[in-house]
Amino acid sequence: MSTQSLATQPIASPHAHGGNSVTRTMFRVQLALAPATLYGFWLFGWPSFFLWLLTILSCLGFEALSLKLMGSARIKVTLWDGSALLTGWLLAMTLPPWAPWWVAIIGGFIAIVIGKQVFGGVGQNVFNPAMVARVALLVSFPVPLTQWVAPLPVTSLAAPDFIHGLQIFLGNQATPDAMASASLLGYTKTELSRGIDLLHSLGGDHGALFSWAGTRAGSFGESASLLILAGGFYLLATGIITWHTPLAVLAGLAIPAAIGHAVDPTHYLSVSTHLLSGAAMLGAFFIATDYVTSPNTGAGQIVFGLGIGLLTWIIRTWGGYPEGMAFAVLLMNALTPVIDRFVKPRILGRDRKGKPLDIPESKGA
């Protein structure tokens, strides 16, 4: 078969285009992330801003380097499509806000080079690059990846100023002990392992309500569930994503959580705690909805999302890590080609198996 006619300037219809582009799509996702991110800067101060900035720059840098090494003629265009920027942004959303600079650099390398470019670049990767980096970092450097800080709004006196923030970011200043804190999921897991059940460990001020305002320890993606949710609704409204994946992820997490909590509230966290903690919202609306690594039909996305939600709940409840969203996403990413193979839309005039419909008896000649 000659591919010549594929390579030449297209002459086939249509001679009109709806105007959508990769850049526009990525820009809208970034716009949806902006409120939660800005709120995160306010909560966690300058170090979090430096981390966010360097993670993105690292991703862009490694993207440019990979393209150059592969001899791409479209380096500038590809950087401009916003996909590497978005990967860096999403990765930063999942990191502890005061993580040191080298986490950003290594994270960018893993996400872009190992997670994406070795597969052939944008659209070709099997796994979500940001989640690959998140998991690799967590497994390789568990200490800095689990050091959470209590929120300390920029306006408060104790918050580090620009210079101090930079020093913290560069690792010259240890995180003050007074600020070190644990995320809710990590805290309850530790307490449970010490034999203290949830009713006792959550007796204090660790209620889920705090998460709506975000003033509790965690990553950006955890701290501002409400703003993440708002961003998610923006994506739904603009048609960037459909309801299938987010609803399925949240349902896959909420249904087992509800059953567990009803059976034994001392050992199973409540639905609201599950939905508002960790990366649940970010995962449901921004991570699991990644086009490249999720199924391409609505029905497939429901299967995919339910799998993520369920796996997240299982890992959170019985796994070794307090949070399981990243693992769950990667596991379901691996299943995406299988889901796509089995869940296909019905072709008009054919049945689900692809056989032509029967010609009605009474009408046939």
Binding site: Q9, A12, S13, P14, A16, I347, L348, G349, L357, P360
Partner: protein, 506 residues
């Protein structure tokens, strides 16, 4: 009904797209006639099926409506002179096709008198027998004017043979830029309804449903008024959504029936004709006039006078442009048909044919081609596809030369509507991929057929040789047996002869 629609939406999704329609101001201009150009060029092949066969000679004088090329075979259509004049050439000219390849055409120099032949008009057209209506439609050279250009009479006869209960009339005109059907329905509603009634008689269907997109309120009102006296003709507004005018989609929308993918519309008891076709059926049966001109849209940012024009077939696009005030700026792309499914023209010196619903003169901004990027698997194409296909998966297989994989995914069901490429954020020319693959597929099928027929020939030769050898051997054996039998008989006779004297002596 509302619940059913919601149910259908959930079940089938929101197929199709809503392109900016660009129909106005052209749609609001009254119908205008184009003056006769000095010369017309009539393509012999401007319909589905076998090309017409010229029945005139160079230098011959013809009148308007005279047959200049006859239909050949079962699926074909005759051509008539669009005006009176002299045949000046029968030869090749550039065909209105993206390839720019030549095709056979009859050239006619117009004498300016526009003199009709004697027209045969039946006394009561609605009393004419179904077979005769189809025969008159065939003789008038009528083909599907929605763009498919399938000979209409063949479809009418098919309807009579295969128990059609509903005749669907396509007035959806879902392609952006085009408004000729809209204009025709607004200004010639009575003639269209008359044509529909004739087609009802010809097909034997009891009911006609006219589907008109709800973005044409004037057309719906005009058609409702014209059809008010005829209960068998229903006007049904349908949602404006591309490609509503595609027959399988329109059949689902108007009747709820789904045509099996290997069957025809007639197999589920319906048949679809375009409003333009209905109009010409009226013209052919009630006025005896063959199809010699059509209403078509001239549009695009580079056209000086966008609007709907009554154009004789064979008019060059360049003449059309000259008659309508020339160009406004520079044309980046000439398109015949609508922007979603139309054909690029190599240049403006190609003639208007029966299937020309519009000529678009697109400027640089409208024709801007974006550089394709990698597929990001966003699934926009899956949501847009009105057939329920997976364009992204099919194109990925075609890129990898996996034609069988693409066929398994339903390549043959693709109607090339262009929705996928229209919504693709990566600007991948998906339809081009599918045309390419379909071309390869038919080439492969042809090659397979050829191989098979060669094999069959070789096999039958082998069989023939074996049979001949066998027959030869049998004949030889038979002859030997005869010889032996004769020899034996002779020997016996000899023995008897020898024995006789002995016996006598005994």
């Amino acid at each position: 009904m509302g619940f059913m629609n919601l149910f259908k939406t959930v079940l089938r999704g929101n197929w199709g797209v809503h392109p900016a329609d660009h129909k106005r101001p052209a749609a609001d201009q009254p119908i205008r006639s184009l003056p006769l150009p000095p010369r017309l060029h009539l393509m012999l092949s401007q319909h589905v099926g076998a090309a017409a066969r010229p029945v005139v000679l160079v230098g011959q004088k013809v009148k308007k409506g005279e047959v200049i090329a006859a239909a050949q075979g079962n699926i074909s259509a005759p051509l008539h002179a669009p005006t009176s004049g002299i045949i000046t050439a029968i030869g090749e000219i550039t065909a209105p096709h993206a390839s720019g390849l030549p095709g056979m055409a009859i050239s006619l120099d117009c004498d300016g008198e526009d003199q009709w032949i004697d027209l045969d008009v039946p006394a009561d057209p609605y009393a004419v027998s179904p077979a005769e209506i189809a025969q008159r439609v065939a003789a008038a050279g009528i083909v599907g004017l929605g763009g498919a250009t399938f000979p209409s009479a063949v479809k009418l006869n098919l309807g009579r043979r295969s128990s059609i209960d509903t005749l669907l009339i396509n007035g959806s005109e879902c392609e952006p830029y085009l408004s000729c059907d809209d204009r025709l329905m607004r200004d010639r509603a009575n003639e269209i309804v008359s044509g529909i009634r004739l087609m009802l008689i010809a097909t034997g269907a009891g009911l006609a449903k006219v589907g008109i997109e709800d973005n044409k309120p004037e057309a719906i009102a005009a058609m409702r008024e014209a059809a008010a006296r005829f209960g068998e003709v229903q006007i049904v507004p349908v949602p404006a959504r591309y490609p509503m005018g595609s027959d399988r989609q329109l059949i689902v929308e108007l009747t709820g029936r789904e045509v099996p993918s290997d069957a025809r519309a007639a197999d589920v008891g319906v048949i679809v004709h375009n409003v333009g076709t209905a109009f010409t059926v009226h013209d052919a049966v009630c006025r005896g006039r063959p199809l010699v001109s059509r209403l078509m849209t001239l549009n695009g940012a580079a056209s000086a006078m966008p609007g709907n024009y009554l154009v004789p077939f064979g008019t060059l696009v360049s003449d059309l442009i000259a008659f309508t005030g020339g160009l406004k700026g520079e044309v980046a792309k000439y398109v015949m048909g609508g922007p979603m499914m139309g054909t690029v023209l190599p240049h403006a010196r190609v003639p208007v044919v029966k299937g020309t619903s519009g000529i678009l003169l697109l400027d640089a901004a409208e024709a801007a081609a974006m550089e394709p990027e990698n597929c990001i698997r966003c699934g926009s194409c899956v949501k847009a596809c009105p057939m329920g296909l997976l364009p992204l998966e099919m194109s990925a297989r075609i890129r990898n030369d996996d034609l069988d994989g693409a066929v398994d995914l339903g390549l043959a069901d693709c109607i090339a509507c262009g929705c996928c490429a229209y919504v693709c954020p990566s600007h991948i020319p998906l339809v081009q991929y599918f045309y390419h693959a379909k071309g390869d597929l038919s080439a492969r099928q042809r090659a397979t057929l050829r191989t098979e027929s060669t094999k069959k020939l070789a096999q039958s030769r082998q069989e023939r040789l074996e049979r001949e050898a066998r027959e030869k051997a049998e004949a030889a054996a038979r002859r030997r047996a005869e010889r032996e039998a004769a020899a034996a008989a002779k020997a016996a006779a000899d023995a008897a002869a020898k024995a006789e004297p002995l016996g006598e002596t005994a």
